[in-house]
Amino acid sequence: MTDAVNTPAATPERSLFAADARTSRRNRSEKRFRAYGMAAVGIGILALIVLLISILGNGLSAFKQTYISYPLELTEERLDPDGNRDPGEMARVTTFGYLPVLAMSLEAWLEAEGIEHEMGGRELAAMLSEEAPAQIRAMVLANPDLIGQTIDVQILLGGRIDGFFKGRVTMETAERDRNVSVNQLLLAQTLAERGDVVTRFNWDFITWPDASGSRPEAAGLGVAIIGSLYMMIVVLVLALPIGVAASIYLEEFAPTNRLTDLIEVNISNLAAVPSIVYGILGLAVFINFMEFNQSSPLVGGLVLTLMTLPTIIIATRASLRAVPPSIRQAALGLGASKMQSVFHHVLPLAMPGILTGTIIGLAQALGETAPLLLIGMVAFVREYPDLVSSHSNSFPLMGDGATALPVQVYSWTQRSDPAFVERASGAIIVLLIFLLIMNAIAILLRRRFERRW
């Protein structure tokens, strides 16, 4: 058996400390390789930081809003001309009827306080948000006794005035701006010095529904947050189990045949289908065929589920495949069924990858607008959606119209008033927080499952 011994002559004695040329070359390439890796991570994080800075820089101010407080006299002759406090009658006075009341009170108060300004009633009223009359009207209709009283209220100021306190609007731009005047700004400044105008934290941004383009100051994310939440629940509840189940079947049970190949190719192909096509599908299947409500988070969630599934399946399959066969054999050899070996051993070991796929899939679903376009969720919705819809012609769960966070971002970036830029960035911040909360859970879980063997 002994062959003629003919190995390369024993290498000359070399010190461990003095690397030979080849080793140093290899080490240099090692260093380079490592540096590439570091650079790659660095690029990723740098890109994130840059994006975050721009988002935060633009959007943090959305969480603050400027208000004015002054005594508001709810004059009877305008608000309840008949004087019988009948809500039905009082409702005849529209918000347009309330605006003069607000303006007159303001004018009167300024005069009483001796605050100088050179503006007429119209210009003065234009300082207030268009939302203000609606709020006061709702307040009065809810409590007719207020009529005739003078109440101290905090009222939203218009978007341009608000922008002035956030640095978006200056005296110079105001000169060119048709929607705000220098006089208005001067008055706002005076009042701010007196403390009657304050810029404070604005919960309403998170809770209120969207508002039309003419009142950016009142636009909020309430409906969008609920819509996104519902959709994410649908996606999580459906996509994760279905995706994992499909992957398990394909990776562990499916016989290798044409059909399995077909499914496999199909799934990777579905990942490449533009998301708007899922919208077309959703419209055809869920709304036209199954008659779910249009604009509903249920349909949105279903569409996003279909869209997310390939991502989760691809990730899950890859990590199932990465579990060494010896683990499966050990379990099978003990008399575990295939199902048991998968659920007891393989799946937990594949969990990090599954969770990664879920994180990425959900992130994608959370940020997606295009498919929602066709199922009517890219919309202006002011009514808060109920979990169980009270007016649905089919499946009632999550059947009310709603929007979603990315939709709100998308619509706000299209609005003409520059005040919406800040709100769009604010919405992105909320979206990212949403994402981080979802990720945090997945990441914690992932950490528990991560191990090398």
């Binding site: 039309s212 409500n293 009517g376 969720m377 003409s416």
Partner: protein
Amino acid sequence: TGAQAQSRDNVQIAGSSTVLPYATIVAEAFGENFDFPTPVVESGGSSTGLRRFCEGVGENTTDIANSSRSIRDSEIATCAENGVTDIIEVRFGYDGIVFASDINGPSFEFTQSDWHLALAAELPVDGEMVANPNINWSDVRADLPDQPIAAFVPGTRHGTREVFDERVILQGCEDNGSLAAMIDMGMDEDAAEEACMELRADGVSVDIDGDYTETLARVAADGNGIGVFGLAFYENNTDTLQVATMGGIVPTVDAIASGEYPVSRPLYFYIKAAHLGVIPGLQEYADFFVSDDIAGDWGPLAAYGLVSDPELAETQAIVANGTLMGN
């Protein structure tokens, strides 16, 4: 028992993103002042809006389609195929189309002819079509500023583009005699018109597939760019944009309403008559939309930049009476 499914009780609207801002203002006010829920207003373009509108009759279809153009005959035919036969057309105002540039740059006074000379792919010169040689606006007309031509025009999916092509470029082509020159060169009229409207593809004219905010961002990033905007959009951004005149007319609500300013387009919404009396609030919404309080000269729509329809009273009558299209 609440288990029985109930019917939809809000108005569902879909369509043009140009109409969207107005529709939302109305929907918002409608929700505030009536006992009906606030309508849901979807955006997605006139095409999708009408497509959804024409999908059929029933709760699961939209009640109103917003459109920045009038409905086409082929669409009406599709509608009819799907059972949507009774449509009420409501023209509620006009959208002015303006040309604006960065506020810090020079100001412009355009004619349609300038735009044609600046953006046409080819121009007739001495009986031959040559690639557009103009680089600066001053090449187009000596008294325009000496600034590189850079135009951000709406992409071919936007209705505004249609108006831009016809009212600005084609008109300019006619005005400056190019059209006639081309016909003289032996082109038939259709081909000549088409040649007029073909824009140059060398990067001087940039199609914008996004919305006006994208145009604004590009104008801001470029500095030299002239953008095509809706009047309302411009009105909300007068601090960063300056508007150019067209044929010496400053685009204002009045100038557009009177037809003096040449570039504008009508805005519509279409009501599915079959849903009137079925969907709560539909009739009320439509009435409210065209009421003087809302769509009139002093209403919030005009404040936002809508050019009120001078014939608003007729529109109000159409809505009140439910006059169907074609009647």
